[in-house]
């Protein structure tokens, strides 16, 4: 038996790695991938607790997160494409439209 806490620590590590990636990467696409990492960390905790408690609802939560992540990825990538069209780059440091 692997204790739940191990899974939780793994999830925390995954989440933190993802977040660091969001902070430091300059390519918008990679930033997106890091967000997917963070979502997976959340999924992992759900499934881990489902196993501990014998509660199938945790799996359903993971299922819905996957579905929402798919929606999010499609819209996000569409935004990246249109951003690339208008700016000619996917480097988010060069996109400062939130200023002013």
């Amino acid at each position: 038996m692997v204790p739940t806490s191990w899974y939780l620590i793994l999830a925390a590590a995954l989440f933190c790695l993802g977040m660091v990636g969001v902070l430091v990467r300059r390519n918008a696409l990679v930033v997106f991938m890091c967000i997917e990492l963070m979502l997976n960390a959340a999924n992992l905790t759900f499934v881990a607790f489902a196993r501990e408690r014998g509660d199938i609802n945790g799996h359903l939560s993971a299922f819905f997160i996957i579905a929402v992540a798919a929606a999010e990825a499609s819209v996000g990538l569409a935004i990246v494409i249109s951003l690339f069209r208008s700016r000619g780059t996917v480097n988010i440091e060069e996109v400062h439209s939130m200023k002013n």
Binding site: M19, V22, L23, V24, V31, I92, E93, H96, S97, M98, K99, N100
Partner: protein, 728 residues
């Protein structure tokens, strides 16, 4: 004869449904106002006329139906204290309620408001008809008719309301329409200013009205909280009174007229006692009632142009003439009298208030009549005449002759509307010439206008032949002479003398205006060489009103014989007709004896003869002087000037009230507004915001990742803090 009487005393429609349809009378002109105001420009002049006339005409027909219905003794309006006969009414639900306070949307028509209904919609219809021609060249016709219809709706709300707050809605509504119509030609600053003056003066009065009704609420609620044994009264146990009272309060709220009436019935035994609880603690019921009524008098003085708030009415003549006729002569300005007739049962409990009203009314009547002596504008003369006649009505209220005051309201509505419309017709036919010294000789050139103006002049003065105004005015003066207000006999007789002098002056200035306008040669400096008679749409209302001014004299004749306590008493038609309205009032008069009403036995020939002679003297002098265009002797010139300048009351107000107020306002403006509010409040806030923004600007980089980093910091910080909290 009996058959006719039976016919007119049988309700043509079911009284209950008539009561439930009362709202239609208000809704029609309101709808008309909406259509004219919103779509008026699109649908064109003819259609606006159609809509406006149709709305008021339909309202008139409904009013006539209601009036017919309430002539039936079986018609009864439901109140929490049992049905009231000779009335119809219905409750249309709660308007608002807060705690124990409640206001319902109830309408009621009894003989008092029924008569008002006919006057408002009837005279209103005629004046609408007149306006179609009078305003035929004005581009703002749709605005005019929208306001006029709105006014009619508001005035109808005022008279149909069965509670003080709803009455106040109408009260404010007519004030607003009056303001809008006085300043109808708002591009003329003087006219816009006149509108503002009317509005502000009215506001002062409305303040009195509001505070008065607040005190009334407190009075009613303090009575409702009394222990039952204090409310014992003749033939009724206190506990029964309390129970009904509580029921009525929860059903209709403290300001419904039925509740106020019940309060008046309860008050006589309490007047000397002090209030034991509530905000009025320690004061006596009598004092608080007096204060409330005096505040109502302030409100009525504002709306009905009495001293000290009469100054707006003469200026209100800046509006179009039909407006002066409808609002500032026939209907709105009489709402003060209507209010006091409604709450007459409270008035008779306080002789002090009554004599105050009488003296204010008589003084106003006399002063205004003196001012009217020397005015040259035909509308100005009529305006001061209106103030003067309103003063007489208040005199009537003050001496307990409520029916006479109300009869004067009705007859005055006819002849004064006719006079104003006649004046409008004169101006219309003479190139808008208002100065009566520059008119003259119109008798042959404007025959219809002349005839109707002459009839109305006779009606208001009683010169040559006593017509309606003579009888109604004389009933007031008669009451002022013969009624008795406990403890104030001297003041009351003083008021009577003033009233009689007013009658004399009225005859003089009215005939002066008539002689200068219609008789004699045409003035040399007249604008037009020849005047032209107005179109039928204008003369027809004049004829109808003149006929009404003659016919309504019937109501002032003592034709009814009533047996009261084994004695046959004569009553005039109007007195008898209004008897159901003033039943509580009369009971209270009989019970308290603070006010005594002299009873008539037969026609008062002596009084009439006296009044007739007075009218002949006043009118005759004017005819003698102005028929020959005599010059005033130089010795009287200062007096003329004093009168012409309205006794410098406007200037006095300017000096005593407006200047200090302006000074104070300026001081406040300089110190509080400029320094505190603008300086610290507004600019200080702006400065602070700017500074804060300047500092925060450096964090606004537009770099999304930096924001995320800050978020991470915050999340980490929050997590650490939470862990520390848990650990400790």
């Amino acid at each position: 004869m009996d058959k006719i009487q039976t016919f007119f005393q049988t309700a043509p429609v079911d009284p209950t449904s008539a009561g439930q349809a009362l709202w239609l009378i208000i809704a029609l002109p309101l709808l008309g106002a909406f259509i004219c105001g919103v779509f008026g420009k699109i649908i064109g002049r003819q259609n606006v006329h159609l809509v406006a006339l149709g709305a008021v005409g339909g309202s008139f027909l409904l009013s006539a139906l209601v009036f017919w219905t309430i002539n039936d003794f079986r018609a009864s309006a439901p109140t929490p204290f049992g049905a009231v006969s000779y009335a119809v009414g219905a409750d249309f639900g709660t308007w608002f309620s807060a705690g124990t306070f409640k206001v319902t949307m109830g309408l009621m028509a009894d003989h008092l408001s029924g008569s008002m209904l006919l006057v408002i919609t009837g005279v209103g219809f005629l004046i609408h008809l007149y306006s179609t021609e009078y305003m035929s060249h004005d581009a703002g016709y749709w605005r005019f008719f929208a306001y006029l219809n709105l006014f009619v709706a508001a005035m109808l709300t005022l008279v149909l309301a069965d509670s003080m707050p709803l009455l106040f809605v109408g009260w404010e509504g007519v004030g607003m329409c009056s303001y809008l119509l006085i300043g109808f030609w708002y591009d003329d600053p003087a006219k816009a200013f006149a509108g503002r003056k009317a509005f502000i003066t009215n506001r002062i009065g409305d303040f009195g009205f509001l505070v008065g009704s607040f005190i009334l609420v407190l009075l009613v609620e303090s009575i409702a909280a009394l222990p039952a044994e204090k409310l014992n009264r003749a033939g009724e146990q206190g506990s029964a009174v309390v129970e009904r009272y509580q029921q009525a309060l929860s059903a209709k709220g403290p300001l419904a007229f039925s509740v106020v009436e019940e309060t008046a019935k309860t008050l006589p035994n309490l007047l000397e006692q002090t209030i034991v609880a509530g905000p009025l603690f320690g004061r006596s019921y009598g004092t608080m009632l007096m204060v409330a009524l005096l505040l109502f008098m302030l409100g009525a003085a504002g709306k009905s142009a009495q001293i000290p708030l009469y100054v707006w009415l003469p200026d209100a003549m800046a509006g179009p003439t039909p407006v002066s006729a409808l609002i500032h002569a026939a209907t709105m300005v009489t709402s003060g009298i209507y209010l006091f007739c409604r709450i007459s049962y409270l008035l008779v409990l306080s002789p002090t208030v009554m004599v105050t009203i009488a003296v204010i009314g008589a003084t106003t009547a006399f002063v205004a009549a003196l001012i009217a002596f020397s005015q040259t504008g035909i509308k100005k003369v009529l305006a001061y005449s209106t103030v003067s006649q309103l003063g007489l009505m208040f005199l009537g209220i003050g001496v307990g002759a409520f029916w006479a005051a109300f009869l004067h309201v009705v007859t005055h509505a006819f002849f004064k509307a006719c006079l104003f419309l006649g004046a409008g017709s004169v101006m219309h036919g003479n190139g808008d010439e208002e100065d009566i010294t520059k008119l003259g000789g119109l008798r042959t050139e404007m025959p219809v206008t002349w005839a109707t103006f002459a009839v109305s002049t006779v009606a208001i003065t009683g010169f040559i032949f006593p017509l309606s105004g003579f009888f109604s005015k004389d009933a007031i003066l008669d009451a002022a002479h013969h009624n008795h207000i406990e403890g104030y006999a001297g003041l009351q007789q003083f008021a009577w003398v003033l009233g009689t002098l007013t009658a004399l002056c009225t005859a003089f200035y009215m005939l002066r205006a008539y002689m200068l306008t219609f008789e004699g040669p045409r003035a040399k400096d007249a604008k037009l060489k020849h005047a032209h008679e107005s179109a039928p749409a204008m003369t027809a209302p004049l004829v109808v009103l003149a006929v009404l001014a003659v016919v309504s004299l019937v109501h002032g004749l003592p034709l009814m014989h009533v047996t009261r306590g084994g004695e046959t008493v004569t009553q005039t038609l109007m007195e008898n007709f209004l008897d159901p309205v003033f039943r509580t009032t009369n009971d209270l008069i009989a019970q308290r004896k603070a006010v005594e009403i002299a009873e008539e036995h037969g026609a008062p020939w002596a009084t009439w003869a006296f009044a007739y002679v007075i009218a002949l003297i006043g009118g005759g002098t004017a005819v003698l002087i102005y028929g020959r265009r005599l010059k005033l002797p130089d010795a009287l010139e200062p007096l003329r000037k004093l009168s012409f300048n309205k006794f410098y009351v406007d200037e006095l107000y300017e000096l005593v009230l407006i200047r200090p107020l302006t000074f104070l306002s300026k001081a406040f403006f300089r110190v509080i507004d400029s320094i505190l509010i603008d300086g610290i409040g507004v600019r200080g806030t702006a400065w602070l915001t700017q500074r804060a923004g300047g500092m925060l600007r450096y964090f606004q980089t537009g770099d999304a990742q930096m924001y995320a980093a800050v978020m991470a910091l915050a999340v980490a910080g929050g997590l650490v803090w939470a862990l520390l909290r848990v650990a400790s």
